[in-house]
Amino acid sequence: MDTRPIKVLVAKPGLDGHDRGAKVVAHALKEAGMEVIYTGLHRTVDQIIRIAIQEDVDVIGLSIMSGAHIPITERLMKKAREEGIDDKMVVVGGVIPGRDIPKLRELGARGVFPGGTPFSEITSFINENVKKS
C-alpha cells in the first residue's frame, strides 16, 4: 500500500502578489497530512511546470486573485500537455466568479475553489480524486 503523502504544489502564477489565500490553503493542506511546496510569488507558467516536474508533485494548485484565471489556466494546461504532465491534477482557487467555473473545468482544471471554500472540501476533493504518480 502506498503510504507516501500526497504532494501538492501551491503556486502563485502571474504578477498578483496577494498571497494570504495561497498561504492559508498551504497551511490547511499541510495540516491535512499532505506534503506542500509553495512556489512563492510572481511565477511564470513555465517556472511552475518546471517545479512540478522537478518535485514530482501529484497536484498543482493555482491561486489567482487578479481576475486573470482563465488566460493563466489556459497557458498552464497547454504547457502541461507539451511537457507530458497533463495527468497531474490541476486545481484553481482565488477570486473566481461563478460564471467562470465551467470554463475553467473545460480548460482542464479538475477542481475550482473560489475564496471561502471550506478547507475540508478542498482536502477531501484532492484525497478522493488524486492519482499519485
Partner: protein
Amino acid sequence: MGVAKYTKDEKDRITDVTLQSGIHVKACYGPADLESVGFSYEKDLAEPGQYPFTRGIHAEGFRSRAWTTRQYTGFGTPEESNERFKLMISHGQTGLNVAFDLPTQMGYDSDDPMAEGEVGRVGMAIDSLRDFEIAFKGINLEKIGSGLTINAVASIMLAMYQAVAEKYGFDPKKISATPQNDILKEMIGRGSWIFPVEPAVNLIGDTIEYSMNVLPRTNPVSICGYHIRESGATPAQEIGYAILIANAYIDNVLKRGYDVDDFVGRFSFNLNVFGNIWEQVAKFRAARKLWARNLKEKYGVKKDSNMYLRGLFGGGGYGLTKAQPENNIMRGAYYALSAALAGAQTIALCSYDEAYTIPTPHSAIISLRTLQLLMDEIGLRDTVDPLAGSYFIETITKEMEAKIEEEMGKIEKVGGIVQAVATGYVQRLVSQQAYEYEKGLQSGELKKVGLNIYTEGEPMEVELHEYTGESAEKQIEALKQLRRERNDREVTRTLKELETATRAGKNVMPCLVEACKAYATVGEMARVFRDVFGEFEEPGLF
C-alpha cells in the same frame, strides 16, 4: 460577533470577550478602570490638536475640515480611467486614489510577455508619460490630490506625476501626490515587490529627500498597516509594524544628513478598518499617540505638526464576503463610522462587489455616498473625538497602546523590522494567524453574517465589471506608436544617465523626471533598476 472571541454560558449570556489584539473586554467600565491603567487626562489625552494627539490632530476635528473621500479607482486604458476619475469627482469625491494594473506595479511594459493577460485588469495601464497625460487630462492637480497606489516603482510614478503636472502648467510646489511607496509592507503582504530590501528602502529615501526640496506638498510615503492587517496581522501588530517601518524610512533619510523635522511631517499612513468597532477606535487613537511619542522621544522631533499621524483609514477588503454581497454595503458603512469616530483625515471604502472583481461605477458611487451620508446627514462633523472620556474607550485605548508596544518589542528582539521582513519572520507569523482566523470562521467560532450564520436566502447575481482584451490591445498599440514617435536618442541618453546615477548611489529622482519627460517607459526605467539592484528573494513559508 466577527473578529473578537466570545465565551458564553448556557443561557447565551456573554461571559468573556477577547479582542484580536488580546484585550479582554469587561461587562462594565468605571473610574476604577481608568485608575488601574494609569490614565491621566493631561498625559494621555490633552486637548484635540495638542500633543500626544490622541483626540485628533485638529483642534476642531471635522468641524474645521471634513475628511477627504478617496475611492480606489482605475482600470483599463488611461482614457477609461480618466473618465472614471472625472465621474467620481463630479459626484463630489475630493481626492483621487489611483489604481495601477499589475504590469505597471511590477515595472513591466504592456507589451512585455510577463504582462500577458494582466494589462489594464486591476488598475490602469501606464507605460509612459503619454499615458499620464491622458489619465490626468482636465483634472486640476493643484486642487485634487492623488494617491498613487504603487510601491516598487513609486519613484518612477512620482517622477512621472511631476512631469505631467509641469506639462499641464501646474507648479510642482503646489501639487500633492501621495505615492504609497511602502516596500516593506509589500514584502509582508500584497507582494508587489521587485528589488531587494536594501536598495528598495533606499529608493524610498530618494523620494523623501527629493520631495523635501522639489515637491513640498507631496506626501512621499504612505506607510500601510492596511495590507499587513489584510495579510493576517492583529490590529496591534498592524500599528506596531507600521511605526517600525516608518522608522526604517526615517533612518534612511537621517543617514543622508537631514534634520528629522525637515521631512517627517509629510509622512502619511494607510490603515485598515475591519473588525470590532471599539478595538478599531482604540487602535487609531493609540496609534496617533504612539506615533507622536515615537517621533518626539526617539527622534527629537520639535514641531508639533510634524508629529501628526495623518492617514487614510480604509474599509478593509478582507472584511467583505462573497456570500450575500449587499451586506458589504452595510459593513462599509460601519467601517466608515469607526474611522470617523476615530478622527480619520481621509476615508476610502472597498465596494460591495470587490469580493468578485473591481467595482462597477454603480458600486463605487454607493461607497462614495456612504461616506457623504455619514458626514452630511447623521452628524459626524458635530464635535471632535466624541467618544473621549468614555471609561471604556479610554481604558482600552491605554490597553491597546500597551499591546502595540509589546508587538514592537517582539520585532526589536529579532533584530528589527528590516531583518524580520528579510528573513520572513513577520510573513510566517501573519500567515499562521491568517490560517487560525480562517479556521475560526470555518468552525463557526468566529461569526460572519451570511457566511456562517443567517445564510438563508437566494444567491444574488452581482453585476460584474467586464474585462475584455480590447483595452489591452489598444494600450499595446499606443505603446508601439509611442516607440515609433519618440526621440530615441533622448530616451537612450536619459536612461544612461539614470543608470550612472543609480550605480553611483546618487538620488535617482532628477534622472527619473528627465527620463519620463523623454518618454522612456516604466519598463525601461525599471529595467535599469533591475539590472543594477537585482531582485528580492522571497523567504520560505514553512
